[in-house]
Symmetry: C2
Subunit: 219 residues, 2 copies
């Protein structure tokens, strides 16, 4: 076997590819758990729900980790993708807003298994204080600065109502958080160097409704 090439480490991976890498990672983990040690791009593509040509092109941005005529070593590729995304590291995360959604997030095992460690749950409501969710005590929102500093937190999750979200984001940014996952239905304004990703439950349903309406119209 020839040396596996890995491109210049300062390469830039297309955003569309970055968004798919976690899907491949999950598919590889599933394959691994099923005892599969090798897979072709076609098999992996089916498991990930994408076209095999697209999968191969995506993987080619990371390097040349397959073997022609054989396929990919599941464990090896899984590790390479995990390293590329950064989930081999430990990512301390703060969750603000411990309503139904915040609790669901705190309990979600998919975080911990991918290197994300919830270091604190914060809520502005004193009534929620001292509740224990997912084994973590709910603290006052004002502890944010201290916690971010102590644990070197770079990623914050906002699960508050819409009215509170911008304030929370401002406080997060002010104390050094540079990536925010926002579940509040509002467009956050943050400095350019801060990454924000938004998950909006009702928007997804509305997109489905649009297509559903069209189906009904043409039926």
């Amino acid at each position: 076997m020839s040396a596996r090439t890995s491109p210049d480490s300062s390469r830039d991976i297309p955003e569309a590819t970055v968004a798919r890498l976690p899907i491949y990672l999950r598919a590889l983990t599933t394959l691994s758990e099923q005892g599969t040690s090798t897979c072709s791009s076609e098999e992996l593509a089916v498991a990930a729900g994408v076209n095999s040509a697209k999968l191969r092109k995506d993987l080619s941005y990371l390097g040349s980790y397959g073997t022609r005529g054989v396929g990919y070593d599941v464990e090896y590729l899984r590790y390479q993708i995990a390293r590329e995304i950064g989930v081999t590291q430990d990512w301390p995360v703060v969750i603000v807003g411990i309503g139904n959604l915040g609790q669901a997030l705190a309990n979600y095992s998919g975080f911990r298994s991918r290197g994300f460690r919830v270091v604190a749950l914060l809520d502005a409501d004193p009534a929620r204080r001292d509740e224990v969710v997912a084994g973590i005590e709910v603290q006052a929102f004002d502890n944010l600065e201290q916690i971010v500093k102590d644990h070197d937190v770079a990623i914050g999750v906002i699960a508050t109502p819409a009215v509170a979200a911008q304030d929370v984001a401002d406080r997060m940014v002010a104390c050094g958080v540079t990536s925010i996952l926002n579940f509040a239905p509002i467009v956050l304004s943050v400095p350019e160097q801060v990454d924000v990703r938004k998950v909006d439950l009702s928007i997804e349903l509305q997109i489905l409704a649009y297509h559903e309406q069209r189906k009904a119209a043409t039926a």
Copy 2:
């Protein structure tokens, strides 16, 4: 004022535009609540977090609902977008899997206010049976067929663990559900005419982690 033109109703709106319409709708609702009766494409674009040229092009797919030199009537445009998406209708929805996430979804007020009506909460676990969440009694999953039939449900939400999700999807499809919002971390396989949208909490965090890692590397 000249007649507002609306293009052929069998037009096809680009998918990227469809995904943004709910954002515009929300921004318009906020503007309306603030007492704004008219707005320019620039104002609305800022509120929605997009480029104004893109906003105008998106709206142009729906019709010509603005007035040059003036802008858009907030209420009028809001209604037009709502009608286009289909949220002026009533959409009965079934939620399967009433764990933390399912409860959060059942309690989410953003659904009801946009025409989505949760007609049933279903869970396979008998221990959860007869619990009342968001004023709705949790029923046996086996009631799915009856409920879909009785309420003419077209949209189903899956909030179960990954292992159960494909079975739930199959049952939904079998009894006539044609749109599925999937929160389970798995790629569902469904017939072509069924729409599936996936929301994956940990994937969003992983995308943030990737960019965070790159920031750290170049800092």
